[in-house]
């Protein structure tokens, strides 16, 4: 997940990314969410939306680098490569990979893993859920009187991938200047622990343990969070005296401004239930679109709480051409392109079929024709087996 998002970003920024799979297939092909998909005139098959999303913009080759031909192929690709991105293997990189790294000291080797390459937890197994747990996010998410809850997706892995991309490009810039490659070691636990706003200073400056606060923004902000309205939920961010006052005037409750219970953001947080009860009639009489437009026009921070299906129809994202349409997945399929504009948007390329570009990329790497023939045959057989 981490390495795959890292390389998707690089590919989206214009890098030439070759996704190297073993004959057993990329593990993301077995990752949820799954969609049963039927193409005209073909047997139905199940595709992984994670693979289709994260594999986009890349070429794909099947190379088993622990065979002599595979090692030669990886070596040929490494000659002109800038970065080699892999997941940590327990006990160090496989022999074929280790040899390539040694033979090409210009390479930047980005290694992603749950806990990094060393340290007492390095060999521990991990899951998306345990990633949330060890990052400190799990404990602070959810209602105060219920068990903590994980984030609804494997987003720790994405954050680690982003962190790896920063390290990878940084080391590549350095290698470009000096000719020297290096290892860039990124563990999800540290990548995520790096992403707290005040959790740690709250402890190191005041000795306070940060706790869960449901849909409110602990420790000292209210109303900042999700509130119910007529047709769903809105998020309101009335923080700071000026915005709080603009909010009170907008909802036609100017008396709240001078109410001693709500004098400061901290007071409002401490009296959150009372405040929410007073706001409820105004919110429940209005739909979220109306509320958000009305408040934003008055410079009060607000947004609709959307589901994944609803966000596809969001006018802002549509106006910015955010979505790409992977036609091979049917007319309704939409996925994010590159989430920032850096020159011309990249041309969309769908996630490769297993080993789809094996022959093409090895030819470009100028591998001996006989080896290409043998590796292509292996790739084709593996592709058929993977279905």
């Amino acid at each position: 997940m981490a390495g795959a998002y890292c390389s998707r970003l690089l590919a989206g920024c214009g890098a030439d990314v070759v996704q190297v799979e073993s004959t057993e297939g990329h593990p993301l092909r077995l990752s949820p969410p799954f969609v049963r998909w039927e193409e005209d005139g073909q047997a139905p098959r199940t595709v992984s939306a994670a693979y289709e999303y994260l594999g986009a913009y890349k070429q794909g080759a099947i190379i088993d680098w622990d065979t002599p031909d595979g090692a030669a192929a990886l070596d040929a690709l490494a000659r002109t490569a800038t970065l080699l991105i892999s997941s940590r293997e327990v006990g160090g990189p496989a022999k074929g990979l280790a040899r390539v790294l040694e033979a090409h000291p210009h390479l930047v080797h980005v290694v992603t893993s749950p806990f990094g390459l060393g340290g007492p937890y390095a060999d521990r197994p991990a899951s998306d859920l345990t990633d949330w747990a060890v990052s400190g996010y799990l404990y602070v998410t959810g209602d105060a009187d219920r068990p903590p809850v994980q984030g609804g997706g494997p987003w720790c892995g994405y954050a680690a991938g982003l962190t790896a991309a920063i390290g990878g490009i940084g080391a590549a810039l350095y290698a470009r200047r000096t000719g020297q490659g290096q290892t860039v070691d990124v563990g999800t636990m540290e990548a995520m622990t790096n992403l707290h706003q005040w959790s740690f200073v709250l402890y190191t400056h005041q000795g306070v343990v940060k706790r869960r606060a449901g849909n409110r923004h602990a420790e000292s902000f209210h109303p900042v969070g999700f509130l119910r309205c007529k047709d769903g939920w809105v998020c309101i961010g009335a923080l700071g005296p000026a915005v709080w006052e603009a909010f009170c005037i907008a909802v036609d409750m100017p008396e709240l401004i001078t109410d001693a219970r709500f004098a400061t953001a901290a007071d409002r947080f401490d009296h959150g239930d009372e405040l929410d009860r007073l706001l409820a009639p105004w919110l429940e009489a209005r739909e979220r679109d109306e509320i958000v437009k009305f408040l934003q026009e008055r410079r009060v921070l607000a947004g609709r709480v959307l589901t994944p299906l609803e966000v596809i129809d969001d006018p802002q994202l549509a106006a910015r051409d955010f979505w790409v349409t992977p036609e091979h997945l049917g007319p309704a399929a939409r996925m994010p392109g590159l989430p920032f504009r850096l020159g011309e948007p990249p041309a969309f390329r769908s996630a490769p079929d297993a080993g789809e570009h094996t022959e093409a990329v090895l030819r470009e790497a100028e591998l001996a024709p006989a080896k290409i023939r043998r590796l292509s045959a292996v790739a084709t057989a593996a592709r058929l087996a993977l279905g």
Partner: protein, 428 residues
């Protein structure tokens, strides 16, 4: 040597998302000049009714008021905010009034000798000051500029204001987090800021790579709504193909069972467990007291998913008598993913993070020595080891203008006298 040595960045950021990008660049060795506003509290009204510099009131320069050491604002509270100091280390501070013509001129001269401008103000702020990319590129064609308003610089919401939880809501992802019997739920930390700041850093680095190829800088338009939706690309793609939203799974998994967060001995203490295979389940099951799981063997994923509630009860009975660390040790030694739900205090004292030197001590002017999170990327050849505390407001006014712009002491004194340069906030 660090990977960005020799690079100069002008950081006009506020709050968290933008400053995170500036901090990454500073940690990586760039010279980051944080240009801060001289304005004081945002609202002119009710000054007397509220203690100044209280957390949550967010005076500008925003977040210079939050989490003081020992809850004590001290003489210069603007230099004592733990939140601000955490996110603005490895930066110099230039407190400059960009709305004053002389301040704007200083900024333009700095642009001429810098590589990057990064800002996360509202979309109208920079064009309003006359600092859109076209204007700045005319001064310095090699300049990389990244703007990251909440909803991007174009489109019908370009003018909207945002903060992390709003972007969490507007990206579609808050809808999938939460208890199965509840509504949408926000994460306990404003994660979209973090994700926006990470993407911004990647985009700036990619633009720097591009500049090496072309010799020219470019403008990056980044929408934090988009960057957050991007980490849900798999969920959104599946929803679009299926025509329906994903189920809210709470702590469960679509492909592993049992998975959950279970109570342990001690108050509000929890352990997260994921059983990924039939083999792991057999190993796990042998640990559970036989009396708690009398019916069925649950040897297949489908059977475990069908009886997940009953299995959860049995697992909780077992975990409740142990510490979260005991459960973790037992299960991980069998190859089963398990981990305590770590608190902020646990993490600061965590032995793994300690062995990787993650938390670092930083001597902070007006604060003293405190521990802060360090740097998450381990470079074998260019390690990040330098952590300079956040600069007090305006601490580098003089050196920046003297060293980079060759300004004389008299010229600098004149700007100070005119309030264009400040080392204390201007309270309005």
């Amino acid at each position: 040597m660090t990977v960005l040595a020799g690079l100069r960045v002008l950081d006009l950021t506020l709050a968290w998302a933008g400053p995170l990008a500036g901090r990454f660049l500073g940690d990586l060795g760039a010279e980051v000049i944080h240009i801060e506003r001289p304005s004081g509290r945002a609202g002119p009204r009710h000054n007397d009714a509220r203690p100044p510099w209280q957390w949550g009131e967010l005076p500008a320069p925003a977040t210079r008021a939050a989490v003081y050491p020992d809850d004590e604002p001290g003489e210069r509270p603007w230099n004592r905010s733990g939140v601000f100091n955490k996110i603005n280390r490895n930066k110099r501070s230039l407190c400059l009034d960009l709305k004053h013509p002389d301040g704007a001129e200083v900024f333009r001269r700095l642009v001429a000798v810098s590589d990057v401008v990064v800002e996360n103000n509202s979309a109208r702020a920079m064009p309003g000051l006359g600092f859109d990319y076209a204007a700045l590129q005319a001064i310095n064609p090699r300049l990389v500029m990244l703007s990251m308003p909440g909803f991007g610089t174009t489109g019908p919401y370009a003018d909207w204001l945002s903060l992390g939880p709003i972007l969490e809501a507007a990206s579609g992802l808050a809808g999938v987090t939460g208890y199965p019997d509840g509504g949408p739920l926000k994460l306990g930390v404003a994660f979209p800021d973090a994700i926006g700041g990470l993407h911004a850093t990647v985009a700036i680095m990619a633009a720097l790579w591009e500049r090496e190829e072309t010799g020219r800088g470019c403008f990056v338009d980044l929408s934090q709504q988009e960057t957050y939706a991007a980490i849900g690309g798999d969920l959104i793609l599946a929803a679009s193909m299926l025509g329906r939203d994903p189920e809210r799974l709470g702590n469960r998994s679509a492909v592993h069972a049992p998975q959950g967060v279970y109570p342990c001995a001690g108050e509000d203490t929890w352990v997260a467990i994921t059983v990924r295979s039939d083999r792991e389940w057999r190993a796990f099951r042998s640990l559970l007291p036989t009396s708690t799981l009398s019916v069925g063997s649950f040897d297949t994923l489908a059977s475990r998913q069908a009886e997940h509630d009953a299995i959860d009860e049995a697992v909780a009975t077992w975990t409740r008598t142990q510490s979260s660390w005991e459960v973790t040790e037992r299960l991980t030694s069998l190859g089963i993913p398990a981990a305590p739900a770590l608190t902020n205090a646990d993490l600061v004292n965590d032995p793994h993070l300690a062995s990787r030197a993650f938390f670092v001590e930083i001597d902070q002017p007006d604060v003293g020595v405190r521990r802060f999170p360090g740097f998450p990327i381990h470079f074998s050849e260019t390690p990040v080891r330098e952590f300079r505390g956040a600069a007090p407001l305006g601490a580098d006014n003089e050196t920046v203008l003297r060293d980079l712009l060759d300004m004389s002491a008299d010229e600098i004194a004149e700007l100070e006298a005119g309030g264009v340069l400040r080392s204390e906030p201007r309270l309005t």
